[in-house]
Symmetry: C2
Subunit: 196 residues, 2 copies
C-alpha cells in the first residue's frame, strides 16, 4: 500500500475510535492528529475539512466492515429466522470491535448528526438502507422457501429488527451491561419463531 494511503487510513482509524468513544463534535482534529504521528498539514492534505473526514469514516470504515458481516451471516444455509438471529447475536455478543458502554457507531452518528448535517444524513441513510435491504432479501427468500410465512411484511419486520437492535444497544449503553442484550435476544427469538 502506498505510504500516503497509510497516513490516510491512520487518520480515519484513529478518528473512528475517538468518534465512537466521544462523538463527532467532541473529537477535535488536534486530538486526532496528536495521538497519531500525523500533523495538521497531512490531515488537511487528505481531507478538505472535518466533515469530509466524517463521511469517509462512514463510507470507508463502517460500510465495508458491517456489510461483509451481514452478507456472511445471512447467506448461510440455515432458515432466515435462524440466520437473522445469529447475525444479531453476533453483533451484540461476539463482535469485540463494539463496546457495550459505547453503543452502536452508526446509531450514535445518526443521533448526533442527522438534525444538522445533511451530508451525514445521506451517507448514513445509504449505509442503513444497505442493511435493511439485506434483511428484507433474506426474509423474502424465506417466503419463497416456505420457511417464512407469506403473510409477513418483510419491510416492517426488517424495520422492527433493526429498531430493536439499536434500542438494545442504547439500553446496554445506559446500563453499561450486556443484560439488555440478552433480554432482547430472548424476545427476538420468540418474535422470529412467530414469523415461520
Amino acid at each position: 500500500m502506498k505510504k500516503s494511503q497509510i497516513t490516510r487510513l491512520t487518520i480515519l482509524n484513529k478518528a473512528f475510535d475517538l468518534i465512537y468513544s466521544n462523538g463527532y463534535r467532541a473529537s477535535s482534529i488536534d486530538e486526532i492528529i496528536g495521538t497519531t504521528k500525523v500533523t495538521k498539514g497531512a490531515f488537511y492534505y487528505h481531507f478538505k475539512n472535518k466533515e469530509e473526514m466524517g463521511i469517509a469514516i462512514i463510507d470507508e470504515i463502517l460500510k465495508p466492515r458491517l456489510s461483509n458481516k451481514f452478507v456472511e451471516l445471512l447467506e448461510n444455509k440455515n432458515s432466515p429466522a435462524e440466520s437473522i438471529y445469529s447475525l444479531i447475536r453476533y453483533l451484540l455478543i461476539e463482535d469485540d470491535l463494539l463496546k457495550v458502554e459505547l453503543g452502536c457507531p452508526a446509531s450514535n452518528l445518526i443521533q448526533e448528526m442527522t438534525p444538522w448535517n445533511n451530508s451525514f444524513s445521506i451517507a448514513l441513510n445509504n449505509l442503513v438502507n444497505q442493511w435493511l435491504h439485506l434483511l428484507i432479501a433474506t426474509l423474502e427468500k424465506g417466503q419463497k422457501n416456505e420457511t417464512i410465512n407469506k403473510g409477513v411484511d418483510a419491510n416492517s419486520v426488517a424495520n422492527f429488527i433493526l429498531s430493536g437492535y439499536w434500542g438494545a444497544r442504547n439500553l446496554g449503553k445506559l446500563e453499561k451491561s450486556d443484560k439488555p442484550y440478552k433480554a432482547y435476544l430472548k424476545e427476538l427469538k420468540m418474535y422470529l419463531k412467530a414469523l415461520e
Copy 2:
C-alpha cells in the same frame, strides 16, 4: 409562582429545546441565555455549572412529563397488551412535543452523555428504570388477570418494547419520516398479541 422560579424555568425550558435540537455539548450557555432575556449572572446564580443544569432538565422536565403519560395510559381499563400498545402509539404518533427529526430526548442524552458523564448516567438510569418498572408492573398485573401468559418474562418484554421504541425513534430520525414508526407499531401489535 415566585419570579426567580420563573427565571429558572425559563432557562430550563429553553435549554431543553436547544439540547433536544442540537445536543448538550452543542448547546452553549451563551445561546441559552441569548435567546431568552436571562443573563449569565442569573444563569450561574441558579445553576452551579452547565452539568447541574443538564441534570435538572432530566429530573424536572423529562421525568415528570413522561411519567405522567405512562401512568395515565397504562392504568386504563384495557388489557395490558392494549394499553402498552396505545402508550407507544401515543408517544410515536400523537405526542407533538416530540419531533420525528429529533428523536427521543432521553435516548439522545443517553447516546451523548453516558460514555463520559457519570452524573448524567445516574439521572438517566433513574428515569429509564421508572419507565421500565411501570411497564413491568403492567405486564405482571396482566399475568394475575390472566390477560398475559404466565410464561412471559415481564422484564425481558419491557426491555424489548423500550428498545424497539428507541430504535424506531432513531430510524425515524434518520429517515425524517414517521414511516418507521408505523412499521414498528405494526410488528409491535403482532408481538404483543403473542403474549396473551
